[in-house]
């Protein structure tokens, strides 16, 4: 059991506070989605949780230990993070990129072992890119590439995986594929998943725990059906909307109204 928790966390850029005194616990073994309008601080929060952004105040703990007190490599064996829009170096092949996920498990002069090959293989298979193992990453489609990056994070073998807008630049089919894949990981391996998503309705459908942010604070959090109400959408996004049950999944479906379409 591993528990990632933000306690009174403040984050910002060059003195400009983005988040002030925020508390959040990622439920263990669940999928958490963080949604909110642009510049609400959701990506910054995720980066803080992954120790990619220094804290201005508060602390982030993993099983009660302050993550800044841990060696980075140790943290990298427990928390994996896929940042927004990563670019693969020229010439790198799929299996090589995925192998880089083994870095935190290797010693100073550590070389790849056959154990590493087995882990890389599992990661390739569970993301469905095993047929592409020896292809250059640059030649893949956007959807395939994103799967390969997720395979790299999986090869890190962490109990917690954080993803910053993993579905950006993907068409709707590939968005669903990717979220299905993450659900599979969560169900099969018990991996705790936390991601920032733009698409409200997909977040509501796939998340066990939904966090709605606005202006650097959490407006509401909990089960999507409890959280995603007309009032919350209005408060967080400054948007008039109807919320109806998703006919496919039963989760809340946000139907925005706008100036020209305000419904019957």
């Amino acid at each position: 059991m591993t528990n990632l928790r933000a306690e009174g966390v403040s984050l910002g850029y060059d003195g400009l506070r983005v988040i002030e005194g925020l508390d959040l616990t990622l439920p263990d073994g669940k999928i958490t989605a963080v949604v909110g309008p642009n510049a609400c601080g959701k990506s910054t929060l995720l980066r803080g949780l992954a120790r990619l952004h220094p804290l201005d105040g508060g602390r982030i703990t993993l099983d009660g230990t302050d993550i800044t007190a841990m060696p980075r490599k140790e943290l990298a064996r427990k928390v994996g993070m896929l940042p927004q829009s990563s670019i693969a170096p020229d010439g790198v092949r799929v299996a090589e990129l995925v192998s880089r996920g083994r870095y935190p498990h290797q010693g100073w002069f550590g070389r790849h072992s056959s154990d590493d090959d087995a882990v890389v293989t599992t990661a390739l298979r569970s993301t469905g890119v095993e047929e592409l193992a020896d292809r250059p990453v640059a030649e893949l489609s956007g959807g395939q590439r994103q799967r390969v990056w997720i395979a790299m994070v999986l090869a890190q073998q962490t109990d917690i995986v954080l993803l910053d807008e993993p579905t950006t630049f993907l068409d709707v089919r590939h968005q669903l594929d990717l979220l299905d894949l993450l659900t599979e990981l969560n169900r099969d391996r018990g991996t705790t998943v936390a991601m920032v998503l733009h698409e409200l309705n997909l977040a509501a459908r796939y998340a066990d725990h939904l966090v709605v942010m606005s202006k650097g604070r959490i407006v509401a959090e909990g089960a999507p059906s409890d959280v995603l109400t007309r009032e919350v959408v209005s408060e967080a996004f400054d948007l008039r909307a109807q919320v109806v049950p998703d006919p496919v999944a039963g989760s809340p479906l946000v139907v925005p109204m706008g100036r020209f379409h305000s419904g019957a």
């Binding site: 990129l97 192998s99 935190p104 293989t121 390739l124 095993e130 020896d134």
Partner: protein
């Protein structure tokens, strides 16, 4: 595909990539051996191959032994050591700053060395090892200055490169200004500090540069493992457990030391640090930093350029620094053109 088949494919790919890296290094060593043998056998003294080989092992005519062991062999060794240092340093700069244009010649670190040496020579009348120390100090000072100006809560690659380019122009202008003010007879001695040459490195100086390059290369193995994660970007590298700032500072320190050492002996040999890693990466082509291959390529490129400069350019014996651009640039262009065709 079954799990076993995938795992075999993964292992096979890894082995193939390592084999390819070894092959590139071996190929470059072969070029060094061929060019080195050629350089030993050919020269103004008109020795026969038999005399040259006898001289190399210390047999035969005393004059022949002197020519081979004191003139030709040190020059070959110097080209290999200095070229290897430039190639390795360039690869470190480029991979850790994630910019294929980041090389000590572009960043002004080589011109810093020139400025240090030229100032020592013209203003202070220095020579020998003290002059080399001035070149080393010049390179180091420019590196520190770039660092101080580029540092903003961490080292940002693009800032580092842009500040470096500024320093390159500043130092080159100062060198040109010093040369314009110098007497004609002094200007000839200054030339080596602007184009680079391996013709006068021997004895203690050669031993010092060789030993220093070896020690620094050994230290590079400590930071070399961080280059893979670093090539994925700072965020990915941190997420994989790399202490990015520490790794980058360590890498750049070693790279600057390698450049300063090589430049203090040979002057700023143009283009090697820029082009050798580019060639090595194209040949290895695994998305890695190709450190060993870059060092081997730098050595081969510098030696071949020196042999060409000595013998193949009609009429004049050109210093190696003039030839490296003539040899290296077309080869890089050819590589870029052909790999592009293959991958599309």
């Amino acid at each position: 595909m079954t799990t076993d088949a995938v795992e075999t494919a993964v292992a096979r790919l890894r082995a193939a990539r390592r084999r390819r890296h070894v092959l590139v290094v071996a190929g470059m060593i072969l070029i060094v051996l061929v060019a080195g043998t050629g350089a030993l056998l050919v020269g103004a003294a008109g020795l026969t191959p038999g005399q040259a080989i006898a001289g190399a092992v210390g047999l035969g005519d005393k004059g022949d032994v002197f020519i081979i062991q004191k003139l030709r062999l040190p020059r070959i060794e110097a080209a290999v050591v200095v070229g290897g240092a430039f190639g390795l340093a360039g690869a470190l700069f480029q991979s850790t700053l994630r910019n294929p244009l980041a090389s000590p010649d572009i960043l002004g670190i080589s011109s810093g060395a020139s400025l240090g040496a030229v100032t020592g020579l013209l203003a202070l009348g220095l020579s020998g090892v003290v002059l080399s120390a001035m070149a080393f100090a010049g390179a180091g000072l420019v590196a520190i200055a770039i660092w101080l100006l580029a540092w903003r809560k961490g080292l940002h690659s693009i800032r580092f490169v842009l500040v470096g380019v500024g320093f390159a122009y500043l130092c080159s202008s100062l060198v040109a200004w010093s040369m314009a003010r110098a007497e004609e007879n002094e200007a000839a001695g200054v030339l080596i500090w602007t184009v680079g040459s391996v013709s006068d490195i021997r004895g203690d100086q050669l031993a010092l540069v060789a030993a220093g390059t070896l020690v620094l290369s050994a230290a590079v193995t400590v930071v070399s493992r961080t280059q893979g994660p670093l090539s994925l970007g700072d965020d990915n590298a941190r997420s994989l457990g790399v202490r990015v700032d520490a790794a980058r500072i360590g890498t750049l320190l070693l790279a600057v030391a390698l450049v300063a050492l090589a430049t203090s002996a040979a002057g700023p040999i143009a283009f090697v640090a820029l082009v050798a890693p580019a060639i090595a990466r194209r040949l290895v082509n695994d998305g890695g930093a190709a450190l060993a291959a870059s060092a081997a390529t730098g050595a081969a490129l510098t030696l071949v350029a020196d042999v060409v400069g000595q013998h193949a350019l009609l009429g004049v014996a050109a210093p190696v620094g003039i030839v490296t651009g003539l040899v290296g640039a077309p080869y890089l262009l050819w590589l870029l053109a052909t790999t592009e065709k293959r991958s599309r």
